[in-house]
Symmetry: C2
Subunit: 374 residues, 2 copies
């Protein structure tokens, strides 16, 4: 029987692994082992960014050596209690089933890590109660800052009020409504419409369509409708003829009906270019157009929106308006970290609202219209 258990703690938790469970080493222990003071250990193991001085090189090396041998890992609970900060920022999003949110989290984690922060994420699963519960645990951990992607109608105002009172900075993600209470970052959807319209116009297109999945009543349909509206406005600034609206309720397969509708039009009436609410929709449309015998981009140009991975697939090579999630994450963190360092985020009483500009990714599905179509 090799199992030997050393009970050192007052409330020793029962050993979780078969083996020897010991009390984790503390700075005090390291100080004893190295024959130096606790403060010296602290100075070496938790150096303040500015003051690098204070301990001689040999002492420093000794301390690091002992720490390594003992397997020292700083106890963040204790550190947090003493400093009042946790170096953790909390993120609450609706769901991790949306690729956008997982990308955002991954990028954010990267950029936060570079600044010494870690990120913890929770999902509201579209319910206010779950959001509240996660907000509460984050306030009580406490996190140093919060990034929230709220669904529109339900605001946990009391908890957010707590954040304000406690000085926990909050940044909203894509918030259309709460801008008054907190600063926010969002994609520049208007700019995306502008970009697509401009691109079509400059390629020479004059009859265009916008294809989107705005029929369901959910958040995603709302997004499609917003994108449609911005594209239509942008196009309206350039051309007399409003874009033809193609609407579906099925973001995955809706392209089939839309392609049928387009194929049924006389070439002289048919739009020469179609902007789509999402890349997913654009890809569905392109497949259906090919099946229907229409060539892309020879007969019809198509651009998507988002720049999902499938858009880059050589079999598609979708020209698209990229909404850069990495840029969004970077901006969110920049805004938040400014507030963490006490810089105000209001200008003239209004909270900053940062819009991240879209980028046009030109691949192979958009070109100038055929002369015959003009």
């Amino acid at each position: 029987m090799m199992t030997r258990i050393i009970y050192l703690m007052k409330n020793t938790p029962a050993p979780a692994e078969t083996g020897t469970v010991t009390k984790p080493p503390t700075m005090t222990l390291i100080a004893r082992h190295a024959g130096v003071s606790r403060v010296a250990v602290h100075a070496v193991l938790s150096p303040r960014p500015g003051s690098n001085i204070g301990v001689s090189q040999e002492k420093r090396d000794l301390i690091l050596k002992v720490a390594r041998e003992l397997g020292y890992v700083r106890n963040e609970s204790a550190r947090s209690l003493a400093t009042g900060r946790t170096n953790t920022i909390g993120v609450i999003v609706q769901s991790l089933k949306t690729r956008f949110f997982t990308d955002f989290f991954t990028y954010l984690d990267e950029v936060c890590y570079a600044d010494g922060y870690s990120v913890t994420i929770s999902t509201s699963e579209f319910t206010s109660a779950r959001e509240a519960r996660h907000l509460r645990t984050m306030v009580s951990r406490p996190v140093d800052g919060l990034i929230l992607a709220q669904s529109s109608p339900w605001h946990n105002d009391d908890l957010l009020e707590q954040c304000s009172v406690r000085g926990i900075p909050v940044v909203l993600l894509g918030g259309d409504d709460l801008e008054l209470k907190f600063p926010s970052v969002a994609f520049d959807t208007a700019g995306a419409g502008e970009l697509a319209a401009d691109y079509f116009y400059r390629l020479g297109h004059r009859r265009v369509a916008f294809f989107h999945a705005g029929e369901a009543g959910d958040d995603s349909a709302r997004m499609h409708n917003v994108r449609h509206s911005f594209f239509a406005q942008a196009w309206g600034r350039r051309s007399l003829s409003a874009p033809l609206a193609l609407v579906t309720g099925d973001p995955a397969h809706g392209g089939i009906q839309a392609a049928a509708k387009l194929a049924a039009l006389a070439p002289a009436d048919r739009p020469t270019a179609v902007a789509c609410g999402t890349d997913e929709l654009a890809i569905s449309l392109i497949y259906a157009l090919r099946t229907a015998g229409l060539r892309v981009p020879e007969d019809l140009s198509v651009v998507g929106c988002d720049d999902i991975p499938a858009a880059a697939d050589p079999g598609i090579a979708l020209t698209t308006v990229k909404l850069p999630t990495d840029g969004l994450a970077r901006q969110a963190w920049q805004l938040l970290s400014r507030k963490l360092h006490g810089k105000p985020s209001t200008k003239g009483g209004k909270h900053s609202k940062i819009l991240v500009p879209p980028e046009l990714v030109a691949r192979a599905t958009a070109a100038s219209p055929p002369p015959a179509a003009l």
Copy 2:
């Protein structure tokens, strides 16, 4: 100028919001306001599961009232320091781009919350360094327990050793290799092969195929090959003819070539049923078969594996072997929470390895073979 800032803390962080930032209320403050002792406040606000007694009802009500008015939220850093526990469990997975992991996290969060724990997740993005860094922050927070989905080759043994020494229980997710060091939970892949083979055999099929994406050299290909091997073994126990192997490198569109191959076979040689490595592949195959003029399930039965949401789509109605992620999360938590409560997880010196059984979801893509084909 309405802004008034109250500096109460020694190291007052600069105010993050325009407004009044105050020191958060503590139990001591509540005790003062309510005119009771701190212990009474503690007994009411952090009741021990067993001992519900200790404070009179009116005092209790008063404390709760004051706490609410003051916006009290318990400081978990302090609680953790005092108790040595954080009520947090850490999860490290490869990526959140895999639907499986996000589902797992969501289910796990649900079941952990019910037991008073919260979950924090990090991704290794398939690099050992990133895993190490997240492991380190989790050990130092510290988390009470850890669930790890490790990629095969790189183990951060030193850090895991730290977990053992500190008594932080670890549960592995789908680990094939580390079973010796830690208990693990995984899908019963062998059982899945068994289930599919059994289903085909009982429907009357005698010539079958297994279609998988095992050509790339990555983790996903490895999974496909394992599934193939288990199906082949299970089939071998029932029939003399080995299943025809259809292999692709493209999990998204590989069905096209496979369907072509199947369509080219003489009906008497053609398998009457195809099991697929994933639902994604099965769906790709079904679309391609339809295009090639083969009816499913009249000419050919198809079953998938996983039960992804698209499999339930009425346009597909895929019969599939469901790998229940919710069950996996439940088992992982059960195993971990047993260890949290000090129950050993070894039986006869070996760590437990829990296999979660698959379930056959019968929809519309599998049926008995046509008499003519027999």
